[in-house]
């Protein structure tokens, strides 16, 4: 006899179905196409492909290394040194990861141009070959992604049970305790973050595209968007997809349950390094100057030459409004699906839960241009699928595909702050699951949900790799607009638009920061 599913099964089931359609199907489609074609040829690399693989791997390795060198010590600083206004400092140090990478790349090209600040300071022109090069791309991406390493290191250091360090302090001096006990215990988290940075950088499209570095993502884009060669795009996508998936699986396995675990194991005070406060403050300020203040100042310097802000807005006002509307819709859609996936993950245990974590990380690691090509292959056809293709819904599908997995992981961690016993108590009191969620669980996750929405908004607003492929003709988001006018528009105009984009990103972030401050003050 047919029985209606419980409300929990139905809601979580719908969320899973949406995420399968948006995140899994495009990748599965690409894999199927490549395997049904001459898949073997995709994996036997010709000289051109080997060059691409070398450049891509070098970009990933270089960025992972440099970002870790910058970020991991800062994580140590935030975890173990008492600093004034630490919450604000953490927010400022983390801010670069929220800047669209291609905008930082844009600032870099202005900085290193013949009329840029570096040339003015050094008294001679920087060669274009260096400004637009693989090392430059590594530098730019490291300045964007170091917060990933910083935050992961801070979390890893804070998770270390203080008693393990105290037990060592009884027999060894502090430097030795740090070297032999603290750092080895934090190492898996730091290494996993480095792997994630590797994946993020080899998946990046905007910066290598802007700095004319030939890597897989730019070649996939060129094959599809410039040469209209879908099969070549698929062939190029396969090695990159495999590389990202393998590295993501290793990273997720290394992190294990820590991806969604939310509490420290002990309240014992950890070993502190307050005697390094001055040098730590100086290092933090130096990083902030280079990674945040310098790009903004360079863009501001360029933008001051714009005819007028009115003219800039008149040219790109539609794209700006379109972007804000799409980002609002996209972030809401992403959080609406991810909250139930996060709930299901938080309440699942054992190998199933860890398997889901790995799947989320792998799906997040799929490069944006590959997601774009997969979505087009899947939806660009006659029949009901064709109704969606060519509309703004494709952009929303792209946002869902890219950001559901990472948002779900974040919300799983938030859900774990709500003890299961709270749900059980509500159930015993006679409340159904939906009522329990609405009245008991979700209200306790308010700040986490708001944070997830703001982060999703920022990510969606700056999204370029998928958008540039799936946007309907004539429809442009602000990132697409900025990216496509760079070559043939005065730099002052482009810089002004980039600054406007940053301003829009920082409005919800500032609101969130104020909400967090109010909560901490209480």
């Amino acid at each position: 006899m047919f029985r209606w599913p419980s409300s929990r099964t139905a809601v979580v089931g719908i969320a899973i179905a949406v995420s399968v359609v948006c995140c899994v199907l495009p990748v599965a489609y690409l894999l199927t196409v490549s395997l049904s074609g001459d898949a073997f040829s995709a994996l036997v690399l010709d000289a051109r492909q080997r060059g691409l693989l070398f450049n891509t791997a070098l970009l990933g390795l270089g960025t992972a290394l440099l970002a870790t060198v910058i970020g991991a010590p800062m994580g140590l600083v935030l975890a173990r040194i008492s600093l004034r206004r630490k919450a604000l400092l953490r927010l400022a140090l983390a801010a670069p990861v929220l800047l669209p990478p291609y905008i930082v790349g844009l600032a870099w090209t202005y900085l290193g141009s013949s009329t840029g600040w570096l040339s003015a300071l050094s008294g001679r022109e920087l060669p274009l070959a260096w400004t637009h090069s693989l090392p430059a791309a590594i530098l730019v991406l490291s300045l964007v992604f170091y917060p990933v390493s910083m935050l992961a290191t801070e979390v890893a250091m804070r998770r270390i049970d203080g008693r393990l360090e105290e037990a060592a302090l009884v027999v060894a001096p502090r430097r030795r305790v740090i070297r032999r006990i603290t750092l080895p215990l934090a190492a898996p988290g730091v290494f996993a973050a480095a792997l994630m940075i590797f994946v993020l950088s080899v998946s990046e499209f905007g910066v290598p595209g802007l700095l004319q570095v030939r890597v897989y993502t730019t070649e996939v884009f060129t094959a599809f968007a410039a040469l209209y060669d879908f099969s070549r795009a698929v062939v190029l996508a396969l090695p990159l997809l495999l590389l990202c998936v393998v590295v993501a699986v290793v990273a997720a396995a290394l992190l294990g349950d820590r991806l969604v675990a939310s509490r420290r194991s002990s309240g014992t005070r950890s070993v502190r390094f307050d005697e390094w406060r001055r040098s730590a403050t100086a290092a933090a300020i130096a990083i902030l100057l280079v990674a945040l203040a310098l790009p903004l100042a360079v863009l501001l310097g360029e933008a001051l030459g714009a005819r007028s802000l009115g003219a800039v807005l008149a040219d790109s006002g539609a794209a700006m409004v379109n972007s804000i509307l799409l980002a609002t819709t996209g972030a809401t859609a992403v959080v609406s699906v991810a909250v139930w996936l996060g709930y299901a993950r938080a309440r699942s245990v054992g190998r199933l839960g860890q398997g889901v974590d790995i799947l989320f990380v792998v799906l997040f690691a799929v490069p944006s241009t590959i997601v774009g090509v997969g979505l087009i292959g899947l939806w660009n056809r006659s029949g009901p699928f064709g109704v969606v293709y060519g509309t703004d819904a494709m952009l929303v599908l792209g946002y869902l595909a890219r950001f559901i997995p990472i948002t779900a992981l974040a919300l799983a961690a938030t859900t774990r702050y709500v003890p299961v016993s709270h749900e059980e108590a509500a159930a015993v009191s006679g409340a159904g699951w939906l009522r329990t969620m609405r009245r008991i669980v979700l209200p306790q996750m308010r700040l986490g949900l708001a944070t997830a929405w703001v982060i999703a908004f920022v990510l969606v607003f700056g999204e370029l790799g998928v958008s540039v492929l799936v946007a309907p003709p004539g429809e442009a988001t602000l990132p697409i607009r900025v990216y496509t006018i760079i070559a043939n528009t005065p730099s002052s105009h482009v810089a002004a638009l980039a600054l406007l984009q940053i301003a829009v990103i920082f409005v919800p972030l500032a609101a969130l920061g104020a909400a967090v401050s109010r909560r901490e003050a209480r």
Partner: protein
């Protein structure tokens, strides 16, 4: 009169609004076993952490073998130079090191020559009867085995003072009784000076030369352990 091994003079410690210790004084003679009992939050663990140098006192002094090791708001001798072994309540075995590695770290930190470390580790593991577990990691051990390894780690550096913070509290009664007897045997065999914190009177009866009772940051009584044993 000979210098006490440990002398605590008028020690106080406050955490925010909570006065954890308030003018506590205590002397422990060399080879003496002192058991501190009292309810949760009475200041037992705080006292142990001050002796180890993991916290500094707000007032008072701590002396070891005639040398001042702690003063007001100041640690004069760092924890690793005080010659102590510490068994933590949750054992705090380092999860990324094997049993041998856990013990080896102590000897390496004490600059013990490499050649003599292996035999010493084996000797101490044999003493606590877990010599066959040297290549295992902490998560591969049972609760009782972890307890023994933790004790071995505290003993391997030949400490002049052994501090134990409710080391048996997480064990079932049978295992607890076994390990309590083992600890008493080791203390006699090694003539250890020991400060043992517990809220269990059976531990106190088995291990104490002297039982000190604490309440709300004060010492409220000191009893000869054997007399107490006879009373109970």
């Amino acid at each position: 009169m000979s210098t006490p091994h440990l002398a605590i003079a008028n020690i106080s410690k406050r955490f925010g609004a909570h006065q954890a210790l308030d003018g506590v004084s205590l002397e422990v003679a060399s080879g003496e076993g002192v058991v501190i009992v009292g309810p949760s939050g009475c200041g037992k663990t705080t006292l142990l952490r001050l002796i180890a140098g993991l916290d500094v006192p707000d007032a008072g002094e701590i002396w070891m073998s005639g040398t001042q090791v702690s003063a007001r708001h100041r640690s004069i001798v760092p924890p690793h130079a005080r010659g102590i072994g510490f068994v933590f309540q949750d054992l705090a075995l380092w999860p990324h090191l094997t049993v041998q590695g856990n013990l080896d770290f102590v000897l390496e930190s004490a600059k013990t020559p490499r050649a003599s470390r292996g035999p010493r580790v084996h000797e101490v593991l044999s003493l606590v009867r877990v010599q066959q577990l040297s290549t295992r990691y902490p998560h591969e051990l049972s609760g009782g085995e972890q307890q023994r390894v933790s004790l071995a780690r505290a003993l391997v550096g030949q400490p002049r003072l052994l501090l134990l913070d409710e080391p048996l509290s997480s064990l079932d009664p049978a295992l607890r009784a076994t390990l309590r007897d083992e600890l008493a045997r080791l203390r006699r065999a090694l003539s250890l000076t020991m400060v043992y914190v517990t809220h269990d009177m059976e531990d106190a009866a088995a291990l104490a030369d002297r039982v000190i009772e604490m309440r709300t940051g004060h010492i409220v009584s000191m009893t000869d352990g054997h007399k107490r044993d006879e009373r109970t």
